[in-house]
Symmetry: D3
Subunit: 253 residues, 6 copies
C-alpha cells in the first residue's frame, strides 16, 4: 500500500480546482494506493508568477514535512510550476514529485517533441527555465497559453477545454509537437476532452494530464523503492531559523 499526499500549494477551501482534485483522488479507488490531500496554511490563492511561487514555498515545505512525519510515502505538489520542489526534498525525507518535472519527462518518453499548453503569459518564462534546468529543453517544441487565469478556470471548463484543444491543434500543426502536456494542474480531467477534440480533427497524439501522471509515477517509484538521494537533497536540521515555528524540530534526518 502506497500512501500518497497531494499538496495544493495555495490557500483556498472553495476552489473548484481543489474540489475536483478531491473527487478525482477519491475516485482512484484503492488498488494499492491511499491518497490524501491538503492545501497550505499560508500562500497565494493561485500560482501564476515567481512571486506566487516564492510565497507558496514555506507552506508547501511545512505540509511536506508534516506528511513525512505522518508516515506518508510520497508527496505530489499540485502545481505545474513545481514550487519548492527541491526544498521539500531536502526538508522531508520521502519521495517528492512535481507535476511539471514529471510531465515533461513523461512527454520526453512518449515522443520527439512536446508542447506545453498553460494558462497565462506570465508563466512562460517559469516553464522555460524549468525545461532548461530539467534538461529537456531540446524536446520542448513550444509553450502556448489560453489566456485564462487559474481562478477563472473552473467557472467555464467548456471554454477552457475549447481553448486547450485549439492551442493543442496549433501546437501539432504549427510547432510540430508529437505530445501535448497540459501545463496547469487546474486542467485536471481536460486531457480526455482534448484527446477527443484532437481525434475529431484526425490528430492522434498523447495528452498528458500532470496530476494523474505524477500520481502514477509516484506509485511506480515507491513500488520500486526508489527515492531521491539524501546525498543531494539534504539540510542541516539544527540550523537556526526565525519565523517558521511549524518546522522546528521536524527536520531531523
Amino acid at each position: 500500500m502506497t500512501k500518497l499526499r497531494i499538496i495544493s500549494p495555495h490557500f483556498t477551501d472553495k476552489s473548484t480546482e481543489v474540489a475536483e482534485l478531491k473527487a478525482y483522488v477519491d475516485a482512484l479507488g484503492s488498488d494499492g494506493l491511499e491518497i490524501s490531500h491538503t492545501t497550505i496554511p499560508t500562500g497565494p490563492i493561485s500560482i501564476e508568477c515567481e512571486l506566487d511561487m516564492a510565497l507558496a514555498a514555506p507552506g508547501t515545505i511545512e505540509e511536506a514535512v508534516c506528511a513525512a512525519k505522518e508516515g506518508i510515502d510520497a508527496v505530489v505538489i499540485s502545481c505545474f510550476g513545481d514550487p519548492a520542489l527541491a526544498a521539500c526534498r531536502e526538508a522531508a525525507k520521502i519521495l517528492v514529485l512535481g507535476p511539471g518535472q514529471t510531465s515533461m519527462h513523461a512527454a520526453a518518453l512518449l515522443g520527439h517533441r512536446f508542447s506545453v499548453i498553460t494558462v497565462v503569459e506570465s508563466v512562460r518564462s517559469v516553464i522555460e527555465n524549468m525545461a532548461r534546468e530539467y534538461a529537456v529543453a531540446d524536446k520542448l517544441a513550444s509553450i502556448r497559453v489560453i489566456n485564462i487565469p487559474v481562478v477563472e478556470l473552473a467557472s467555464d471548463m467548456a471554454a477552457v477545454n475549447e481553448a486547450l484543444a485549439k492551442e493543442a491543434i496549433a501546437a501539432v500543426k504549427e510547432d510540430r509537437a508529437d505530445v501535448i502536456v497540459l501545463g496547469c494542474t487546474g486542467f485536471l480531467g481536460s486531457a480526455e476532452v482534448v484527446v477527443a477534440k484532437l481525434k475529431a480533427q484526425g490528430i492522434d497524439v498523447p495528452v498528458i494530464d500532470p496530476i494523474p501522471v505524477s500520481i502514477a509515477m509516484a506509485q511506480a517509484l515507491c513500488t520500486l523503492g526508489l527515492k531521491h538521494s539524501s546525498r543531494l537533497y539534504a539540510c542541516d536540521p539544527a540550523k537556526p531559523t526565525k519565523g517558521y515555528d511549524a518546522l522546528a524540530g521536524k527536520l531531523d534526518a
Copy 2:
C-alpha cells in the same frame, strides 16, 4: 490488468540472464500485471556494439508486432541500448519502452546528475548518443564500465556486483553523481546489492535497475491510457519489403 511482454533482443535459451529475467517476472505476482517473455528468432547472442544492435532489430520488430497482434498492452525491449525502439513503435501500435531511455528519464526525475555503469568500452559511444538524442545529456555525469562482457556476467555475479559497486562509488565521489543507473539489463537484481555496498560506505544514492523501472513505468503509462503518438510513430503497412515474411500483413494500423 496490464499485459506486458518483455523481449530479450538476442537469441539464447541457456542464458542465465534470460532465466533470471523469467524468475524475476514470475516473482512479480499479479497485482494488475501479467508479464510474458520472449527472445528473438534471429540476432546476436548479446548486444555490445552498433552491429549487434542492427542485427537484433528485425527479430525485435517481429516480436513486437506479434505481441501487438496477440493483444499485449505494452512491450519492454530488454537491452539498455534500446535496439529498434523507434522502429518497434512504428510497426506495433502499442506502447513500447526501452530501458535505456526509461532509466535515464527516471534518473533525471530523482537527482541533479546521474552516472551510467555499463559492461564494456564499446557501448560508451552508444550511450552517449542515446543521452544526446533523448535530451538528457546535460544530466549525465559520466559513463563507467566494469569491463566484463555480457555473456560472462551470469557466471560470477559476485564479481559483477563488486565491480558495479566500485564504479558506483567512484561515480559519486569523482564524477559527483547523485543517481546511479545500471547500464545493462543483465545486471538485473544487482541494484539492491549495490545500494547495500554504497550504504556500507556511507553513500545514500538511488540505484536504478533498468528492467524493473521500465516495467513499472509501462504499467503506469498503460493505466493512464498513454501511448506514443501514432502521428510521430507511423509506417506504411503496404510498403513492399523483401526478406521479412514474418512481418507481411501484420503492419496494418
Copy 3:
C-alpha cells in the same frame, strides 16, 4: 585508383533512382575512381521511417562486408538517413560514408546555416536526431519537405525539381539558410536544376547533392589514407549470431 562501392539500401531492380545512380556513376569516368553499385538482398523498397531503416540494415551490412572482402576501398550508403552507418563501419574494415552525415558537414563548411529539403514528414525526426548526433544541430536552419514519397520521385522529376526549388527559396528567405542540402539520394541530379531556379530568383547559395559530395569526400579521404578508427568502430568476429549466415566468417578483423 580508389575503388568505391555505392550500396542502395533497398531492394529494387526497376527503380529509376537506381538506374539514374548507375548512369551517374558510369558518367564519372575514371580519373582515379572506379565506382560500382549494388542494391541489397533484403529490405524495404524505399526508406522513409525508422522501421525502413531497421529493415534495411542487415542487407546493407552484408553488402558492406562483401565490398571489403572484394578489396573495395570505400563504401557510400545511398540513403540520406545513413542506415546502418556505424554498424557497417564496425563490420567492414574499410571507409564507410553516409550521405546524410557527409552532406551536413560539407554544408557546415560552406556557410553559417543550412536547410535540408527532403521527401516526406516522417523523415523529419530522423534528420533532427542525425543533426544532433553529428553535432551540427546549431547549423541547421530548418528541415522542409516536398511531400512526394521516394517511389514517386522518378515519375515526374520536373515536379520534384519545382517543389525542391520552391522549398529552397522559402528556406533562404524565411529560415535564412545560406546553404541548401538535398535530403534524399533520390534527388540525384536535381542540384543543378535547383541552383538554376534559385539564380533566376536572384539567389546564389550552394546546393548540395548528397551522393556526389559523398563520392568526392570518400575519394579525398582514401587519397589521404584516412579511415575510421578501428578503436571506436570494432566488433567481435567470433560472437555467435543466428539468422545472418551471409556474415558468418567474414567479420575477421
Copy 4:
C-alpha cells in the same frame, strides 16, 4: 544620487558578515551613492541549500517591497544564490540585482572561462542550475568548495583566505579558469587577499567579489536609467494571499 539597499536574506544581528558588510558600505563614502543595509525578519541564519533559499524568500521580498516604498532606487540581495531574485523584481518596481547573476556576467565579460569558489558541497547544484538558467554555463570552468560553512567564515578569515587561494590556484592550473568568482557574499574583502596570494604564485587573473561588483553594476544601471522590464517581471497586486500581511496593499504597480 543613487539610493541602494542591500538586503542580507538571513536573520542575524551579531553575524560578523553583516557587520563587515556595514563597515564596507559605510566606507564607500558618498560619490553619488547612498547605501543602506537590512537583514530580514524571518528566515534561516545562513543560506546553504534550497530549503534555506525558500525560507529566506518571503522576508527578502518584504524588504524589497519596503525599499521600493521608501524610494530606494535599487536593491542588491546579499547572497550568491540570488534567493527570490525574480520574485523581488515582480513585487518591487525597482531594479533588483543578485550577486550570483551579476558576478557571473561580469566574469564572462572579463575572460574565456571562470571558476566559482564557494563554501560547501550543498550549494554546488544550486550554482550549476543558476549558470544554466542565466545562460553562462558554457563559460563555467568549475565550481570548487572550501568546506567551511557560512556561519564559521568570520571566525577565521585567515583560514578562509588561505583556502580560497588554494582552490583559486587549482581552478587556474587544473580547470583552466581565467577569472575567479568568489561564490559567497560572506567572502567580502577576500578578493584583495586572494589576488595577492595568486600574484605571489605568478598568477594574474581577476578575482570578483560579488557584493562590490553588484553595487557598482547597480549604480551603473541606475545612472543609465535601466531597470528590468515590467512586462516580464509583473504580479497581480490584487491577488488574495494568506499569511503575508506585511505585503498587503504594497504591490500596487
Copy 5:
C-alpha cells in the same frame, strides 16, 4: 578619476556618428570620468561585414596600444561587432570593452530574453557568432534589421528611430523579447526615443544603448580595480612583425 578612451574603428572626420559621439561624451560632464575619443588611421568608413571588421582591426589595436601608453585606464571600441576586442586586450595592458559583448551581458542581467535590432542583413551572422562565443545565445530571442546602412543613419535619424521602434515592437510581440538591444553604436541617443515609442504602445521594456552601457560598465570595472586576466590575454612583445611599425616597441608587458 577614470580616464576612458573611445575608439571609433573606422576612418572618418565628417561622420555625424562621430560628431554625435563627441557631443555625447562632452555632455557626460566630469563625475569621476574623463572621456576622450579617436578614430583610426586605417580602415573602412563603416563596419557591416567580416571584411570591414578585419580591415579595422590593425588601426584599432594601434589606438588601443597608444591609449595604454598615454595612461588611459580603459578603452571602449565603438562598434557593436567588437572588432579586434581580444587582440586589443592582448596588445594593451588595460581594460578593453566591446559594446556588443557588454550590451548582451547587460541585457541578460535585465531579462529572460533579448532581441538585437541592427542595421543590415550582413551583420546578422556576425552577431549570431558573437552570441555563441559570449555564451549568451540561449538568451537571444531574435536579431532584427532596419535595412539602413551605417553611413546613411545620421542623415535621417527620425526614420531610423521609426524603424527601430517598429522592429522593437515586433521583437516584443512576435519574438517575445523582454529587453531590446540597439545593435549598432550609430544608434547613439535612439534608446530614449524608442522607449517613448514603445511606451506609447503600452510596452515597457528596457532598451540598451551600447555606448552608454559600455562607458558605465568600464567605469564600474575600473572603480572595482577589475581588468582582464593577463594570463588569458597575452602576447609576445618581441615577436617579429612586418608592416606594423606603429606597434613596434609598444607591446612590452
Copy 6:
C-alpha cells in the same frame, strides 16, 4: 584542372615551415591539381594569439583577392586558426578553406570524439571558440599542447613528433578521443610519424594533418562546383577604405 593557392598568413622566407610546405606541394604531382604558394607582405612571423590573427588578416585578404584575380579556383589559408577566413570569403569570390574548420569537420566525419594537439597554451581559447562557432564543440574531446612555439618547430621535428605522439596517446587513453587532429599547419608531415608511434602502442586512430586534408577537400569541392554562398559572404566593393591600397578596385563582385 583545379588551381589551388596556399597562403601562409605570416611573413617569412627562411621559415622551414614554408620550405616544407613548398616541398610537400611540389610532391603532390599533377593529378588534376596545380598548387601554388605564397606568404603575406605584412603580418607576424607566426600565429599564436588573437593579436597575431588580427595582424595577419589584411595581408591574407590581399593575397586571397590577388589569387581570385589571377584565376585561382580555391585558396587554403595555412594556419589552423583560420585567420581572416570569413573576410577572405567576402573579399574574394572563390572558394576559401581554413584548415581548422576543414580538419574539425573531417574529424567529425571519422569518429565520435576528436582531440586537437596544438603548439602552445595561448591558442587553446582560440580553438575552443572556433569549435563553438563551427558547431562541432560537442565532438571535441580535448585540446592538448606540446609547449613548443611555432618558430621552434622546424629545428627539432623529432622532438615535436615525440611530443605529439605523447599527447595523442594521452588524448586517446585519458580523454577518450577516437580521432586526433594536428592543430598547427607547422606539423605538416607529422601525421604519418604519429600514426606509427600510436600503432606501436597498439592504438589505431586516424590522425588528421590539416593542410593535406584541406587541399583534398578544396579539390573535391571544386570538382563538385561547390563554393560558399555569395548571399552570406558578400561585401560592398565601393565602400571607401583607407590604408589598404592593394585592395582598391579589386573587390568588384
